[in-house]
Amino acid sequence: MGLFRSDPVIPDPPNRSKREKCWESRDLFFSCLDRIDVVNPLDKKHDKIIAKECSKENKQYETDCVASWVKYFNQKRPFDIKKERMLKEAEEQNAEVIQMPGYRPGAIGK
């Protein structure tokens, strides 16, 4: 890979450490979004506040994760939050969360 060559570089598949680093940066960015009450980072109306409050985290996130992953995680975030809220609500209404043996915790819908 030369500095002035524009050859397309076939990226290596992310390995375990790279994946974990990406997830970590994502979690940092998302916790920053939690602080400023942004659910959907892809929503244009939040662009300003994200740039103001979480630009550092966002930059790190975008360096550690490839663009397709960033897009995927950002799209996934509102759904995860919605699901979490529904479960919390159910719990507040004294609904019992049944953990079936042999199943992952919170297996339904994930």
Partner: protein
């Protein structure tokens, strides 16, 4: 005259009362039954001698029956026996029912004639050697479709696969053949797969191939396949795909899918159940044709 004939018929005791009767003829109808009752009371002990065993009274006979017999149970013991046998049979039939249910489930999945899921494929393994359905024969295999650039689900599932493999080996003594088939042949060359999979479990065999072979294979396994055909090298994209483990029998035929809802133990348990009831094809055919065949239909 009637009076006298009746009196004459009276047994000895009746005759004792006879003078009274004669004196007060009006009471006659009442006195006769009384005389009869008395008569019976006196007669009772006189039973036929043949009912009493020789040399013993009745009470003695009852005693000998109680102590002499070995077959007789107390109610308590009979109850315990009943419960033990009952519980045993219930357990046995429940197990058998469960076994047949799982077998039937597998049988339904196999389908008739052409397999509904699975079939031959012509791919290349991570060492560059050809890999077809033939290689599935002789051992139970677990197939997984994915791609190396998968953001979060595939790595999770592959880690789980590693746990399942270890669990099966340690707890059930079964070595499964784990296979990872890529849905993204453009980026996942044998070398890439080799490196990628080595991080999860050393046993996992990575399969790739040309676009059409992969597409056909995904179609045969009913895997949703969305990889675009013409991709520029270095392009960054994701691939949508179904996330199931496919359990294949030692004849290379499909048994069941395991969805994402299972944890490693749950999946291992399910696989173990299928393996323990597995019957080879020849034996299955024989079962169906035998006189108990109706049970397997």
């Amino acid at each position: 005259m009637i009076r006298t004939t009746n009196l004459l018929r009276l047994p000895q005791l009746g005759r004792l009362f006879a003078p009274t009767v004669l004196r007060n003829s009006r009471c006659l109808s009442h006195t006769f039954p009384r005389a009869n009752e008395l008569n019976e009371q006196v007669m009772k002990p006189k039973k036929p001698l043949s009912r009493i065993p020789v040399g013993g009274s009745e009470s003695v006979r009852e005693q000998t029956v109680k102590t002499g017999s070995t077959v007789e149970f107390s109610t308590g013991r009979a109850l315990v026996l009943f419960l033990v046998v009952g519980a045993g049979l219930t357990y046995f039939f429940k197990q058998e029912k469960k076994r047949l249910e799982i077998q039937r489930e597998a049988e339904t999945n196999r389908g008739m004639g052409k397999p509904l899921i699975g079939g031959d494929f012509n791919l290349v393994d991570h060492n560059g050697n050809p890999f077809t359905q033939e290689k599935l024969k002789g051992k139970f295999s677990v197939l997984y479709f994915g791609f190396s650039h998968c953001p979060d689900i595939c790595p999770d599932e592959l880690d789980k696969l590693g746990l399942i493999l270890e669990n099966m080996k340690k707890n059930h003594g079964v070595t499964l053949q784990p296979i990872f088939i890529t849905c993204d042949p453009a980026r996942d060359s044998p070398e890439v797969l080799k490196e990628y999979l080595s991080e999860f479990h050393p046993d996992i065999i990575g399969l790739t191939g040309d676009y059409d072979e992969i597409k056909k294979c995904c179609k045969n396994f009913r895997v949703y396949f969305s990889t675009p055909r013409d991709l520029k090298p270095g392009q960054d994209y994701l691939v949508d795909h179904s996330i199931f483990f496919y359990l294949m029998d030692p004849e290379g035929e499909f048994i069941d899918v395991l969805g994402r809802q299972y944890d490693a133990e749950g999946a291992a348990e399910k696989i173990k159940q299928h393996i323990s009831v597995y019957v080879p094809k020849d034996a299955r055919e024989k079962q169906k044709q035998g006189w108990l065949g109706f049970l397997f239909k």
